[in-house]
Structures are given as C-alpha cells and as structure tokens.
C-alpha cells in the first residue's frame, strides 16, 4: 500500500512539470478553411493563451493534411493586402495570440487530402518551452 502510494507520488512529481507546462498554454478554436478540390494551400486559425509568467515561442507546426506549414501574416498597407512570413510567433506571458482571417494564420501548403467541411484534423504545434501541443482543427468554410 505504502509502496503504491510512494510510486504514485513520485510519478505525479515527474508528470507535473510537463503537465503544468502544457497547461500554461491553452490552444482553442482551431479550424482550417475548407477549399475546393485542387487547392494547393489553405489557412489554419487558432487561439493561443499563455497563462504562465514567462513568454513562449511557437517555432513550428505540422498536420496530416499538408506537407509544410508556415506562419504568415496578412499585412495591410495603404489599403493593400500582402502576406509576410513569420519564422516564429512569440506568445507573451498573460497574453492571447489570435490567428484569424486577415491577420496571423498558419499557411498549410502541399494539401494531401480534400479539405472537406466537417472533418477534424490534428495540428501539432511545437513550442520552445511547452513542447508539442496537439489540437484538433475542424474544417469549415
């Protein structure tokens, strides 16, 4: 009994640092834009909330439906829109970073599967401190 308790206690000690890191970043509202068959690229959107006191950085992402993912920002200048790549995204402490249409987005290139509305696909987000966080993104128009 005691042995079991100790091992459970030790396990929880081991598990807690990573668990708290994972809990420090909340990723919600993930979705991917549905596009007609033949589309070469689409955009993914989500919300990242950093509840920790330290900043973190989103350094890369991957998904099963596309070959390569990049972070892009639609930049508006003099009423014109163009896209710029961002190599990494800083998530400041206590702040919420929103990937949304017309702004920051995950550019998904080399689409491998039809972007069918209603499907749910995983996106793996790699953070500098929090490690990898997996979210399910729904495909919608």
């Amino acid at each position: 009994m005691m042995k079991k308790f100790i091992s459970a206690f030790l396990l929880s000690c081991l598990a807690s640092p990573s668990a708290s890191y994972a809990a420090s970043l909340k990723v919600t509202n993930a979705w991917i834009r549905a596009l007609p068959p033949g589309a070469k690229a689409t955009a993914g959107y989500l919300v990242i909330e950093n509840e920790k006191k330290q900043p973190d950085k989103l350094i890369s992402a991957s998904t099963t439906i596309g070959d390569s993912l990049e972070f892009h920002e639609t930049v508006k200048e003099n009423g014109m829109a163009s896209m710029e790549e961002r190599s990494q995204i800083v998530i400041p402490p206590g702040k919420v970073v929103r990937f949304k249409p017309g702004s920051l987005h995950i550019m998904i290139m080399g689409i491998k599967e039809p972007l069918k509305e209603g499907l749910e696909v995983p996106i793996l987000l790699n953070f500098e401190k929090a490690g990898t966080i997996k979210v399910m993104a729904s495909i919608k128009k």
């Binding site: 007609p36 033949g38 892009h72 639609t74 896209m83 017309g102």
Partner: protein
C-alpha cells in the same frame, strides 16, 4: 391657400428626407461625390456577359482577389455568401462580384469551380491582365507581385457600384462583421437613392 399647402407639404417632405438621410448615413463606408465612371472594356462575368451590362440597374458589391489566395479571399467569399443569405429573406437587389487579379492562372473553369464552392450567386469577373489593370485603376486600386516574395498583393476594400454602373462608395471591411457590413451597404444604398429625390 393651395400654394401654401404645397409649400408646407414640400418642406415637410424635404425635412423628412433630410432626417432619413441623416439616420442612414453610413458610419464606415465612404460615399463618393460625384460618382466615378468605371472603365470595364474587355471585362466579363463567367456567363460571358459584359461587366457594363452586369452592373446596369443593380447595386453591386465587389472585391478583388485570386483563387490561390489562402487567407483574405476565402474570407471575403464566405462573407459575401453570408450577405447573400441575409439578403434572401428580404430581397435587396444587391449582387456580389469577385474580380480575379490573376487571370492567367485563374482559368474560367478553375474560377467557376472556386466561386461555386462558396456560392454560385457570386459573379466572377475576369479580363486580360491589361483590362483588369485598367478596371482596377477606375477604383483607384492596384495589384501586383512582390518581387522579393513572389506573392501577389491587392486591395482589401469592398467597392459599391450604383445601378448607373458607377463607382459610388467603398468600405474597408477590416474587423467589421456581416451585420455591420450589411447595414453599411444598405445605408449607402438608401442614402444615394434618397439623394436622387432631392
């Protein structure tokens, strides 16, 4: 006596019109005074109709973009779809159009397929690169390719064309939701229709 009554009625009508105009002044849309002629030679919709005829006798909201644009353009088209759905319950005589700035890549079949994915009622407009450039210039707009990144850039604004086929107003759609956009488009329409009476 009749004259006095006529004067009273006329001034009441003018005041009422002015009140309506004041109430229906758009908050975000910019109305152009005077309206500007559009150079649409060589521009057609996907049914083969000349743009000049497409614009005639209807209010049109139009945006520029291209089919391989992953962020802004699909967003514009899904907004247009929602605006069309909102207009369905109360027919408003407003049509929506999307102009490709990349006519060499956006073949008619590709363009039709792309627009149909969102809403078949959205009119696809295309022309030669030269005709498209002249067309965009009539809306004081431009587009092109960034030589560094090789990415296309284009205007974000929604342009409102009056039933005379002239550029009447524009809206910067940024951060406006569909309800606000619809109110703005309606406000432009009412404002310009009532101005015609004065």
């Amino acid at each position: 006596m009749k004259k006095l009554l006529a004067i009273v009625l006329l001034s009441m009508f003018t005041i009422a019109t002015l009140i309506i105009l004041r109430q229906r002044t758009p908050k975000f849309a910019q109305i152009l005074d005077p309206q500007i002629s559009i150079k649409s030679e060589g521009m057609k919709d996907l049914e083969g109709q000349a743009v000049k005829d497409l614009f005639q006798d209807r209010w049109t909201v139009l945006a520029f973009g291209f089919t391989s644009c992953p962020d802004i353009c699909p967003n514009t088209l899904s907004i247009f779809k929602k605006l069309l759905e909102m207009g369905q319950n109360r027919p408003d005589g407003i049509q929506y159009a999307f102009v490709t700035i990349d006519p060499q890549t956006d073949t008619t079949s590709k363009f039709k397929n792309y627009l149909g994915f969102f809403d078949l009622r959205i009119h696809g407009i295309y022309g030669s690169p030269e005709a498209t450039e002249i067309f965009a210039k009539s809306f004081a707009s431009t587009f092109g390719k960034d030589p560094k990144s090789n990415r296309l850039y284009h205007t974000l604004n929604y342009f409102i064309v009056s039933p005379d086929g002239k550029w009447a107003a524009y809206i910067k759609p940024e951060s406006l939701n569909e309800e606000t956009l619809m109110k703005e488009i309606q406000a432009v329409k009412t404002n310009l229709e009532w101005k015609g009476f004065l």
